[in-house]
Symmetry: C2
Subunit: 374 residues, 2 copies
Amino acid sequence: MSSTAITDSPAPWLRDNCPCAACRDPRTGQKLFQITDLPADLTLGAVREVPAADGGSATHWEVRWEPEGHRSLYPAAWLAAHAPATSYAAGGDGRTEAEKELWAAADLAGQLPEAGWDAYIGDREVRARALEAVGSLGFFLLRDVPCRDRMVLGVAETFGFVRRTNYGELFEVRVEADPNNLAFTGALITPHTDNPYRDPVPTVQLLHCLRNEAVGGDSGLVDGFHAAALLRSEDRRAFETLTRVPVEFAFSDARTELRAERPLIEVDPLGRIRGIRFNNRSLAALRASAPVVEEFYAAYRAFGELLLRPELRLDFRLTPGDCLVFDNTRLLHARTAFSESGGRHLQGAYADLDGLASTLAVLRRAGRGEGAQA
Amino acid sequence: MSSTAITDSPAPWLRDNCPCAACRDPRTGQKLFQITDLPADLTLGAVREVPAADGGSATHWEVRWEPEGHRSLYPAAWLAAHAPATSYAAGGDGRTEAEKELWAAADLAGQLPEAGWDAYIGDREVRARALEAVGSLGFFLLRDVPCRDRMVLGVAETFGFVRRTNYGELFEVRVEADPNNLAFTGALITPHTDNPYRDPVPTVQLLHCLRNEAVGGDSGLVDGFHAAALLRSEDRRAFETLTRVPVEFAFSDARTELRAERPLIEVDPLGRIRGIRFNNRSLAALRASAPVVEEFYAAYRAFGELLLRPELRLDFRLTPGDCLVFDNTRLLHARTAFSESGGRHLQGAYADLDGLASTLAVLRRAGRGEGAQA
């Protein structure tokens, strides 16, 4: 590698990434200076290659910075992987459509991402693959999870932290005498994301089936990122409207009054889909001028129709011991109606994707260093 | 009021907001139909005013919908407040700059939003005003909170739910022998937001001072929304760059590996500032092409310089019993260096703004219905 990776890199970027012990705390790896601590007129001084002491390939490049006189030593391998002047990795934190595997129902026929509880607990590789499926497909299904009260919290703790809400640490999905949410009745529930009236919205949902003897009460999942990408290709204007119009969602009961105002489709600054909020039950009256309202409703209807296409919806039935874990910023979930006389009982809980991704990264790190078994 | 509020409203909007018991579940207030359940060719049929039975002002408007034949009855007062054709309330969920009171240090001189613990617990109105301050100013300061271990969790539970993270349910801010974060050393910490490497980021932070005998270790707060608004007026290009370039933040230790890629300044679809991430310690190497990197670094420096302006920074000293509660999506916090020989101990915890806003809304509701005292 030549010195062009250095000389063509923007100076503040290169200086900001100096790995020396004066610039990064050796105990924490955290940066010790502010961007404002660097001279505004920073330039590269002398640049030289420093061969590996053992004559191997681990060469470094040394840079002397003017006018400050600081010396930085960059591993050539790091430069090759990161320097903007050469190539740069696409990167990303795994949360946008660019890093997902979008699916329709037929793509998953006969190959649901699933694992048995004992294998999941006992085998790092099984666990890692399950967590990867939440990133790539948006969900995984654990089988044979012990049908114990509050076990759903134990499942959440295998990969992250439970997000407590006004529904409690966990919530009971069964017919309630005095429900504060249609989920707690026997009603049919069309595809939706949970808690759009919360901000931050819970990014992971768990549903653990303890009992399902009801007629009906089958489950469905729709890949909202796939649906939004379809909308973009079929009706670009509708897609853009749904990314642009903030919509209020609201929930209230005797002890709670939540509302959040966000677009139905969230895109990142590069325009990539990174979040879906869709819930007819809690959409509040849209506050906007008449032309915006007209445009929103046309787009909302178009997206709603698309989300109901049978080929997008994966149907299955949760049986006792099943625990579904899914990305609530991407997948919509649904259920068919069932008799209110009972016989169906799930326990649900919320958690977050960042903790899940961290657990996966550490598993993969340990897998590399220590072999694939727990 | 004439019928124009009805005839000039987009039909799908009006129909979607039908308040009848067949359209909204009387038990939960949730909507019972999908937008796709409505006819695509929906039009207004007969419209008539329905006077109040008691001859009072609570009139309604009745609409018959074609071709479905459904009848909706709208309170005239609701139409006056919501109809797009007349006027509409600006609305919002309180989270963007439009609903904040931006401040510089001098604006708060001698009038910090503060309350004593006993008054906060005993008096609804004091509690409501404190929570309102988090919405409007971004923080409040509780005085005389009992200096007990884990008391910070009790404070969080007065308005919301603790967000557990890899740092635990609470974290100890004091000098640690083997710190995984510079916060746990005696180092100076410049203005920053916490946990930008997490997504969703914790939106509320609490810091409860148990002990502060150290020389140094004073606290500072900067209103990041104000700073971003200043950047927009002084250097629009830099502002736009920081809203447009996703930046990776990363944190790792033996058990954790977190990263999130988000812009430093988050705006909503209408361009209003609604979130700040700024933390030099955990900013990862930017992955972008050289021109984007150049532009980002110029903007990052401009914002960094602005955030260090002394007139923006509110300085104060936490004394034992103080508990600072602040919006971590808006305020940057800082501290001066202190001696590592100890004498300073805070306990911190995270929570979320949505729960806080819900608690406030219910307090105000109860205040209206039941008087201002607990």
